[in-house]
Symmetry: C2
Subunit: 229 residues, 2 copies
C-alpha cells in the first residue's frame, strides 16, 4: 500500500537544520499491521506525517494507494486524506467545542458527507466498541486522558479508511483497555482489509505487528518480520 524510496525530511536550515528523516526505503503491504519503533526524536511522527500527506518530503519518492503523494497540491492532498486515511495523533487533536460524539462524526459529515442515518449508526457502533458510549455527550475537557485517546481512535476508524496512521495510540491506556483497542483494529484489518501503521513504544503493539521497522536518528536500522529475527 505504501512505498518509500530515499525519503528525506529536513526542518529548518543552516545552523538550526534538523535532518529528521535521512533517506529511508520501505514497502508496506495492504491489510497489515506495521510498527515503527525507535527512541524519542528518531523520526517516527515525521514519517507518519509524510505518509499521511500532512507534511511534504524534502526529497525522495512516496507512493500511497497507487498515488504519488509528493506531487499532490494542498487541495488534492486534503481530498486524498479525507478519502483514504484515518489519523490517531500523538496529542489526540480533538476539537474542544465538539462533544465526543461530534468529534467522531466530524469526518463523516465535513469530509465524506455521509447521510445522517449512516453517520449515527457508525458513530454509535465505534463508541460502543471503544467502551466510551456513556461519554458521547461529554466535551474533551470532561474526559480522562485515556477516554480522549479512545475518542481519537474512534474518529480515525469511523470512515473505514484504507490506511490508519496511529501515533502512539495506546500511550495513555491501561493494559485491558489497550488490548480492547488493538482487537478492534485487528478486526478491521481482517474484515475491511485496513492497513495499520503504528508509531509506538508499547510492547503490546509491537507484539501484534507483522513487520517492525526500527528507526534511529532518521535512518532505518532494522526490519523485523513476524516469526523472523
Amino acid at each position: 500500500l505504501v512505498n518509500a524510496e530515499n525519503l528525506l525530511k529536513t526542518y529548518g536550515s543552516g545552523e538550526v537544520e534538523v535532518k529528521a528523516i535521512r533517506g529511508v526505503n520501505f514497502d508496506i503491504e495492504p491489510a497489515s499491521f506495521v510498527s515503527f519503533v525507535g527512541p524519542s526524536g528518531s523520526g517516527k511522527t515525521t514519517l507518519l506525517n509524510m505518509i499521511g500527506c500532512l507534511d511534504t518530503p524534502t526529497d525522495g519518492n512516496l507512493t500511497v494507494a497507487d498515488t504519488d503523494v509528493t506531487k499532490l497540491d494542498r487541495n488534492s492532498s486534503a481530498r486524498f486524506r479525507g478519502d483514504n486515511i484515518g489519523f490517531i495523533f500523538q496529542d489526540f487533536n480533538l476539537i474542544p467545542v465538539l462533544t465526543a460524539y461530534e468529534n467522531i462524526e466530524y469526518p463523516l459529515l465535513m469530509v465524506q458527507n455521509r447521510p445522517a442515518v449512516e453517520r449515527k449508526q457508525r458513530v454509535m457502533s465505534l463508541l460502543e466498541a471503544a467502551g466510551i458510549a456513556d461519554m458521547k455527550d461529554k466535551f474533551p475537557d470532561q474526559l480522562s486522558g485515556g477516554q480522549k485517546q479512545r475518542v481519537a481512535v474512534a474518529r480515525a476508524l469511523v470512515t473505514d479508511p484504507k490506511l490508519v496512521l496511529a501515533d502512539e495510540p495506546t500511550a495513555n491506556l491501561d493494559h485491558a483497555t489497550a488490548r480492547n483497542i488493538l482487537n478492534l483494529m485487528k478486526e478491521m484489518r481482517d474484515s475491511s482489509g485496513t492497513t495499520f501503521i503504528f508509531s509506538t513504544h508499547d510492547p503490546k503493539v509491537m507484539a501484534e505487528a507483522e513487520v517492525t521497522f526500527t528507526l534511529e536518528d532518521g535512518l532505518l536500522k532494522g526490519i523485523r518480520q513476524e516469526g523472523g529475527e
Copy 2:
C-alpha cells in the same frame, strides 16, 4: 507529606453527575515514590489535581505539607502551589510561544522570582540531565512528543519542589529515555527529599514505587508496599 480522609470529587449534577473520587483515605510519606495505578477513567488525574490544589474536593479532608488545602482560597492556593509543588501534566501543557528553555525557566521567573544567574544554572542543568540541551531554543511545535514530555519534566523539577505530581510522565518515552528520567527523579528524592506521586500505566514506574495504590471507579481497591504483596 499528604494525608487524605474520605476524599470525594463529583463533577456535574443530576443526570450527568460523575463521582470521579468516591471517598478515599491514604497517607504518603516525605521523600518517597508513590504510584496510583488503575484503569482509564478510574480517577487518577482527578486525585492528582486535588493534591496539587488545581481542583477542590467536593468533600473530605486533604492535608499537604501540613496545610489543609481544602481551605485555601484561589490566591493562597496559587502561592502554595508555586512554593511547594511541581507538575508534569498528562498533556504536557507547555506554553507554545515560549522556547523549551523559557518554558522550564518560567516557574523560577514568574512564580519564585529567582535571580538570573541561578535561573540559568538550574535550567541548563536540567536540560542536560533530561538529554535535551540541544533543544533549548526550539518551540514546542518543533519538538517530538517525547522531547516535549521531557521539557515538562524539567519544568516540574526546576524549582526543587517538596512534591512532584507526575501524570503519566513516561507515556511517550522509549525505554532508555524513560529510565533516564526515572533515575533523575530518584536522585532528587535521595538528595533533596522530594516526594514523587505518579499516575501511571508504565510497569517501569510501578516497579520503582515504594507504595502503589490501585484505584478503580473512584475507590482505592488495593495498597501494595515494596517488598510486600
